[in-house]
Symmetry: C2
Subunit: 575 residues, 2 copies
């Protein structure tokens, strides 16, 4: 513990943990372990993420009264373990409505419960569906320091509970979050929190959940910024961490300036402790983890999201169709990084249209990764479909139907292996394909988790190059990176026969899907009119496919899935 | 027009129309036609449903500024057609935020805009995602009568804008709705509106949207109840209608009693007209459509939802795999009722496990319905899969894998015919199967629309019997109704080998899925513990399948889909 004549200090510990929805027992175990470590380190205050007890987001499980009761019982077990420390932990509070709540626990007692005031109901969030908003802004005195407690969204607005608390005397604003990842979000959070800290002249201690939950990845990256917005501590991104820091509140101005605006919330105050329980504290080394580079961050988010989906759903192995193309190669490497090479099985399913290069590329990749590779040729089944359907097709010309049959045979083979051996199938379609519908429903879309579903094709290449660079060798063979993309479902087929080139297409898709720009607005950016109109038409026409797609990791500001809710039945053409 | 010395009269017309999301042109055409008819009938006031201009629910289309602009431009065209009448029409208002709005149009001018105050954000609704709430309660004087305008949810609460408006002088409360169907909802609406009318001493004129939109069916059934809660008029259920009635407001008490409670909203007033435009009015016959019986209502909802999904998405024909079982038989009849027999193609896909009775039952059904029946045997393809997978399966024992392969072959054949001929595939799985996961992903779940997805198996039987009764003959062969349910994917297979009997299972599923009861609570109802535990386990374990299911018509209080949002990754076992 630093010593200073006139300084006042709070030692805070923030446990950014990887929780699992509905796993009260497992979540509690992790929390108890962190309580032990925080006490060892002499922490005065320990925080856990938003809804830590029950996991985030529990969605409609919240409507089950027995789920709320269960989460409350496990909170009690945390309270019992809180002798000699103050804890702030997220849970679902079910008294008179449901609240997204923070338990304030002190020395064996549940002292107070804070209710989240700002409930996000946009993007992937549906919090108005579940929660009532709180109306109280508590300020707690902990070891003589004024501490305000807030939950996630609460601090994303200029005027909010942190503002009220700071003006009412809080020197430290604690925030417990479950803030999902998209690339660049860590920086945006830090800039926002720095501004709040400066505006309110208070230290902000931000703790964020870690881990994958269906389509979301929570990326941790907890941080503490002082009253001038300067970084005091930063936790790991995309990994669990226990961030401990000593906060000197002597520099936080006192008395607080007046509150400029009338606020609709009530300030409450409670004194928990005047002095620390533990005075003989081990010294701390600074905890400032360097932020990851852009592609490292995205790549690691995909690894975490995939690994958590697989293991939290009880699978030990995954199965991936390896075409020798860039998408399946990247997915295989991500899977190996998440699960180890013994956790991944590849299957090559060559047809008469597969190029020799594709087969050798798949083999080389499997060798580079050290994974098992099965080979199941599809020609015999394809021939049987052809024979079986000849009469029904009555001499109609070959078209995309025959291409889809091949894709669906591969889907069936993957699912048959999945059913037989209990392996989860990972699909390999990227965001550019999902957007344009350049994919076969029940074919290449068949599987449990779509790893790169939110990764545009151009970024798939960047991530493959990044991953090779990280290893210092060609894990993804250069032949895979260099060849033109092809579905290989008919002779000499190339993606570019059907779609605009991906470097033209991807910016259009971003503007149309993520930014709600109209066709006219995108054309006005100087992009070829025919490319824009074709892309928009393809996006609009493939909503029905996306509705039946497996979940996958969100990495952009707007992923397909709950983040973007469009009707299938939709005659709007002005888009 | 009735004549009476001291009576004051308002002639109201309510156009309950079948709108299409995003079809500004088509929706306007229908509205203009209704304006013409209402004027012919001398209506003083004409109402259109909630968001009539753009369709309901437009979901994330609302985030596209050009969509809002488009809907506003089409509203202007309605305004231009409003000479000599007053109109209340739903549209999306994009001034300073987005509002679920009612345009109040009088004699060629947009006079005012009402903003919906209560925004539903539960069940299938996400209105907080899009809309800001209004804060004004307008009362308009139309032909000397006080009229309050409200939108859907606004009248579902005791204290709300209608209450404020009635106390401020409104004698008639107009409500424009887009209220989705579930069975029994019509009665619930009528009881609720009757209570509001009595409580507020005002006439309530309720107009509801008609038609299918993805998973929802809007069932019309507009009604007018007087200030004592007595029925003055009722429109057709599940069909378009123009309900016209003369409202005598002389009996509505004046002066209005005081408002009991302080309300947060502001009353606004505007006088539109003191006297009718048209004085020489044709006489009206009473418009009181008799409500449908329970099974007629459900059946017709399925027909409307299916027909609208097919035609609004631009399909002319549907394809259905006919197994000779009760589910596919019912779906085929619904499809024929929606699209005519030339709009439906059946395909029988027999295997070595198909009983002779199944094949003849499918043939008899197709004959009864007068639909084309293709026959595509799957044995040859199944044999080819078997040969192709022998090495990969390395002598593992036959299990559910081989059953799923057969179901997926059938899925592929259906999709191949769909791709080749442009027919939409209707799937045939019922709610009991969807709940328990007794269905094959990409197999029998493969298709564009799942007609009976929300119909429990026991109700599938009731609806088949009802439909036979309606025809006065066996459209569904009695052999189909009488035989024990079987997937016919292995010798002598029966559903009951895997699932509890449906008459035991369905009540458990209702309690668990629709009522959020815990396993313990359901057991306490006296249901066999093993049945309850097994059903709950099956429901929890098949969320991943449902996530990839096609949409289907909601007919119960809680359908799978947007109505029930559970995480796939979920360790909660206490359910």
């Amino acid at each position: 513990m630093p010593q200073s004549g006139d300084a006042r200090w709070l030692r805070i510990a923030m446990a950014q943990l990887n929780m699992t929805v509905g796993d009260f027992e497992g979540n509690l175990r992790k929390m108890l372990e962190a309580v032990g470590r925080a006490k060892e380190q002499g922490a005065d205050l320990l925080t856990f993420p938003e809804l830590a007890v029950c996991g985030y987001p529990p969605e409609d499980l919240l409507f089950k009264p027995h789920f709320i009761d269960g989460n409350r019982r496990y909170l009690e077990k945390l309270v019992e373990a809180s002798a000699g420390i103050t804890i702030v932990a997220g849970f679902a509070d079910g008294n008179d409505g449901i609240y997204n709540a923070a338990a304030v626990i002190h020395n064996g007692k549940l002292v107070d419960v804070y209710h989240k005031i700002f409930l996000p109901n946009y993007g992937v969030f549906d919090e108005n569906r579940y929660f009532r908003p709180g109306d109280k802004c508590p300020v707690y005195t902990i070891v003589g320091v004024g501490v305000g407690v807030t939950i996630c969204e609460d601090i994303w607005y200029e005027v909010g509970p942190a503002n009220v608390q700071a003006y009412a005397g809080a020197e430290v604003i604690v925030n417990i979050s479950a803030s999902p990842y998209h690339f660049g979000k860590g920086e945006a959070r830090e800039a926002m929190i720095a501004q709040r800290a400066k505006d309110n002249g208070a230290i902000f201690a931000y703790n964020n959940l870690v881990g994958g939950q269906d389509e979301l990845v929570f990326d941790g990256g907890g941080m503490i910024l002082d009253e001038k917005g300067r970084l005091l501590a930063r936790g790991k991104q995309l990994e669990e961490d226990l961030i401990i820091a000593d906060l000197n509140v002597a520099a936080v101005a006192w008395p607080r300036p007046k509150l400029a605006k009338v606020q609709p919330w009530t300030v409450t105050r409670a004194t928990l402790s005047a002095k620390p329980f533990i005075t003989d504290k081990p010294s701390l080394s600074p905890h400032k983890v360097k932020p990851k580079s852009l592609y490292a961050e995205i790549y690691d988010a995909l690894v975490l999201g995939t690994g958590d989906y697989v293991t939290k759903n009880g699978f030990k192995k995954v199965l991936i169709g390896l075409s020798g193309g860039i998408d399946s190669s990247l997915v295989a490497i991500i899977a190996v990084d998440a699960l180890g090479n013994t956790g991944v099985v590849g299957v090559a399913m060559p047809s008469q249209y597969s190029s020799p290069g594709s087969i050798s590329d798949a083999e080389l990749l499997a060798k580079n990764l050290g994974i098992e590779l099965l080979t199941v040729p599809i020609e015999k089944v394809f021939q049987a479909y052809h024979d079986t359907l000849t009469e029904a097709f009555k001499g109609a010309k070959p078209d995309v139907t025959e291409e889809n049959i091949q894709a669906r045979i591969r889907g069936n083979i993957l699912m048959a292996l999945s059913n037989k051996f209990g392996w989860l199938v990972l699909t390999t379609g990227n965001k550019s394909e999902m957007a344009t519908g350049y994919t076969t429903l029940y074919g290449d879309m068949a599987g449990g988790f779509a790893v790169v579903k939110d990764v545009p094709k151009t970024m798939v290449y960047e991530l493959a190059r990044y991953r090779n660079h990280r290893s210092g060798k060609e894990v993804v063979p250069s032949s895979v990176i260099d060849k033109p993309p092809s579905a290989e479902l008919r002779p000499e087929q190339k993606d570019i026969d059907t779609l605009p080139a991906y470097d033209l297409l991807d910016p259009v898709l971003k503007a149309y899907v993520e930014e709600d720009k109209s066709v006219e607005e995108i054309i006005a950016l100087g992009i070829d009119e025919e490319v824009v109109r074709r892309a928009a038409r393809l996006v609009d026409g493939s909503e029905y496919k996306r509705r039946q797609a497996p979940p996958g990791v969100k990495i952009t500001t707007r992923a397909f899935g709950r983040d973007r809710r469009l009707p299938i039945t939709n005659r709007y053409q002005g888009g």
